[in-house]
Symmetry: C2
Subunit: 207 residues, 2 copies
């Protein structure tokens, strides 16, 4: 065949290879995206790649909570109206965004940057646990409660337990997220574990 390597152009092949490194993007989708970009005005494509380069090269992480930030201290940590006595520990930047969206939380955060996972080769030293203990130990700290808002799987519970052992000496209140049926969830379709925990953790009825 005329196309020794599947693609009519080395430039196209390189772009498809690069795009298909994105999670959830296979060779077919990558080809579709590459051909789409090829049809766009040159300045649009440059704007696209520059926005990505700027993000990667210039992004900062808040020196206090490790959240993505444009400044050395993020907009939440520097917001004087937030409750400085409560710190919510989450795995990712995305979790902070999810909790902020609820509008139900007015304390500070601490982004771990991942979760302890022996299979993925991620240990405590790959996370910002040490930074968390330093934050709590800081004499100017006003922290009274740590909320462990981690995922409900084995890795999340392992990480929560590890952090608990590291911070129990500080005599803070340590809490975790309520688990149970989601609002509007049907008992019939709930998984057994969730339903079981929902019964075990039942709450006084408030009419």
């Amino acid at each position: 065949m005329a196309y020794k390597d599947k693609y009519p152009s080395k430039l196209l092949e390189d772009a498809v290879d690069a795009i298909s490194t994105l999670p959830g993007v296979g060779q077919r989708s990558a080809l579709r995206l590459a051909l789409h970009l090829l049809k766009q005005p040159s300045e649009n494509v440059h704007h696209f790649t520059e926005a990505i380069n700027h993000l990667r090269d210039e992004v900062k992480y808040c020196k206090q909570c490790r959240m993505i930030s444009d400044e050395d201290v993020c907009s939440i940590c520097s917001d004087r109206s937030r409750d400085r006595s409560t710190v919510c520990v989450v795995q990712t930047v995305r979790d902070v965004m999810s909790i902020e969206k609820t509008g139900q939380y007015h304390g500070l955060y601490h982004v771990l940057g991942g979760i302890i996972s022996p299979i993925a080769g991620i240990g405590p030293s790959d996370l910002t646990v040490r930074e968390l203990t330093e934050r709590i130990a800081d004499p100017s700290s006003q922290i009274k409660e740590i909320i462990l808002a981690l995922s409900g799987d084995v890795e999340g519970e392992t990480t929560a337990f590890y952090i608990y052992r590291q911070i129990e000496k500080f005599n803070l209140q340590v809490t975790s997220l309520a688990r149970g049926l989601g609002f509007g969830d049907d008992l019939e379709y709930a998984d057994e574990l969730t339903l079981g925990r929902s019964i075990a953790g039942r709450q006084p009825f408030r009419p």
Copy 2:
């Protein structure tokens, strides 16, 4: 809320906006991809954006068939072993790649770059129809057959008819792709139009 504009960082917001201009990529997927890129080594991200910039800035189109190419004349048009008497007219670069993959075609191509679509505001002058007629009219042309390999919808048929009217004066053989049930297709699940055409266009049985 602390996040006035949904995102903790303007850099992140710009990247998400840029990524969500891709077809089939919404804001949520764009955020996921942006956060993925943020976790990659800087050189990987630069390689990613450079591959896209190179594609957009340096790609050439074959001056004969308008296929994507690294050279002025593409690898198919410059391949002396290909049948120069047959030209297969397709809508897109991708169609050429699909037909090449079959290994069943050994002639040349002509990439229209789209299809006549009044709704999308695409007329004959936006396509390479003039280039096709010039190619046929060229005294050195060896073209004897034009295959109109366009989509089977109204726009495809409109485009095929328009091209036919432009080239009928050259007295070439003009053909179109066989339509009917796909190999392995079940009659029960075929749409009526396909099944109807499949009956109307029935072929002598070759045992």
